[in-house]
Symmetry: C2
Subunit: 225 residues, 2 copies
C-alpha cells in the first residue's frame, strides 16, 4: 500500500502497549513498515535524534519526519492512509473516540499499573479503587461488540492496554482488577478484541513479558523489605 | 455563521484557562454561542447531566450533544466550522500541533501551577525546575510570531495558559517563572498573543482572578502554619 519512495518506520520495543497500538493500526491499514527494536537501557542515536524530548518509544517515522505520542501517531496514520478508517467519519463520534482514548490514558493506564507496582498498602488500595471506578465507567460505555461497533476503531486500539496488559500484570500480584465477574461486557470485548486476527498477530509473546514484569515486581518487593 | 436550527452552548466558568481556549476558538471562527456561567461550588443539573464523569467545565454543547476536554472540543469546532482553521491542513503539521498542545497540558499546566501552590520548599523547587525545563523546550520550538506562523493556531490557543495564567499566579508568590529574560521568544509571543484582538476580548478580567488565586494561596500558607 506504500509507494517505493516512501519510508515508513516504527521505533518500538516489544512489550510496550503504546507501541502495540501503532502496530495494530498499521496492520489494520495494511501498511508495510520497518520495525526498529529499541533497547531502552541503551537507547539508539536514532531514538535520541527523533525524540529528544521524551526519549521514548513509539516514534513513528514517515519520510524522515518523526511523530511522537501513540494517539497522535494513530491520528496521523488515519489521515495519511484512508483505507480501513480507525476514527469515525462523523465529527461527534470522532470527538467521543478522542475523549474515551484520552480517558483510558488519563484514568486507567497509570492507576492500574500502580495497582500492581505499589508497595504501600494504602496507596495501592487507592489506585485499585481509581482503576475500578474508571473501568466501571468504560464498562457502562461499551454498547456493541467493539467500541467501534462491528469493527475495531480508535478506542479499541487505545484499550489494548486493558485487554492484554492489565490481565498480565494483575496475575503477578494475584490481583482481581479486571475480571469477567466484575466487568462482563468489557471482558467479553477483550476476548473478541484479542482474538481479532490483526490484533492477535501483533501482541507481544506473553511469557517473556510476564517474566519481565514479575522480575520488576519481585525487585520492588525485595527493595521494600 | 450558525443557522437558526443550531444550538451552540458553552458551559464554562470565567477564569478557567480551559474554558478560555474554547472561547478564543469560537470567536476566531465567529460562531455565535450561549455562554452558561457555572458556579463550581454548586454545579448545575445541566453540568452534571452533560459531564457526569468529570463534572467539570468546559462542556461544549452542540445541538444537545455534549463534548468534553478542551482540546477535543477545539478539534470538534475545527471540523464542524471550516472557516479560519485552527489546525494546519498538512497532516504532519497537524500532528505537531497535537503533540505540542498535549505537551503543554502534560508538562506545563500542572507543574507551573504547583510551582506556586505548593508549600513544601523541596517539592516546590522540583515543580519550578520541571516547568522551567518544559518552558525552555517550548521556547526553542517557537519559530515565528505565533506557533501557527503568522496566524494563531491550535498550539497558541492551548498556550493561553502560559501567556495569561502563569504571569498572574507567579506574581502572587513573587516567583520569576516566566519572564522576558528567561524566555525572550516565548515572552514576545505572549505579548503578541494577548494583544491579538480575538484573544484580548476573551480573557477574564485580571483583578478578580488575581484576588481569587491570592486568597487560595494565602489559605494554603495559613493552613501550613
Amino acid at each position: 500500500m506504500t509507494t517505493n519512495q516512501e519510508e515508513v518506520k516504527l521505533l518500538g520495543a516489544t512489550g510496550s502497549p503504546f507501541v502495540c497500538r501503532v502496530q495494530i493500526a498499521l496492520k489494520l491499514k495494511e501498511i508495510e513498515y520497518k520495525f526498529v527494536e529499541e533497547n531502552l537501557v541503551n537507547k539508539s542515536e536514532l531514538l535520541l535524534k527523533y525524540n529528544p524530548i521524551y526519549k521514548k518509544v513509539p516514534v513513528f517515522v514517515h519520510n524522515d519526519k518523526p511523530i511522537i505520542e501513540s494517539l497522535v501517531i494513530l491520528e496521523y496514520i488515519d489521515e495519511i492512509w484512508k483505507q480501513n478508517p480507525i476514527l469515525p467519519s462523523d465529527p461527534y463520534q470522532r470527538s467521543l473516540a478522542r475523549f474515551w482514548s484520552k480517558f483510558i490514558d488519563d484514568k486507567i493506564v497509570l492507576a492500574s499499573s500502580k495497582s500492581v507496582f505499589t508497595i504501600d498498602e494504602k496507596e495501592r488500595e487507592k489506585h485499585i479503587e481509581e482503576s475500578t471506578e474508571a473501568l466501571q465507567i468504560l464498562e457502562n460505555e461499551l454498547k456493541g461488540k467493539f467500541f467501534g461497533g462491528e469493527e475495531i476503531n480508535f478506542v479499541d486500539i487505545a484499550a489494548v492496554f486493558i485487554a492484554f496488559w492489565i490481565p498480565l500484570v494483575q496475575d503477578i500480584a494475584d490481583l482481581q482488577l479486571f475480571t469477567d465477574e466484575k466487568f462482563p461486557k468489557l471482558y467479553n470485548w477483550s476476548q473478541e478484541f484479542l482474538n481479532h486476527p490483526v490484533v492477535k498477530q501483533n501482541l507481544p509473546p506473553r511469557d517473556p513479558l510476564f517474566a519481565f514484569f514479575k522480575a520488576r515486581y519481585d525487585g520492588l518487593l525485595a527493595a521494600s523489605k
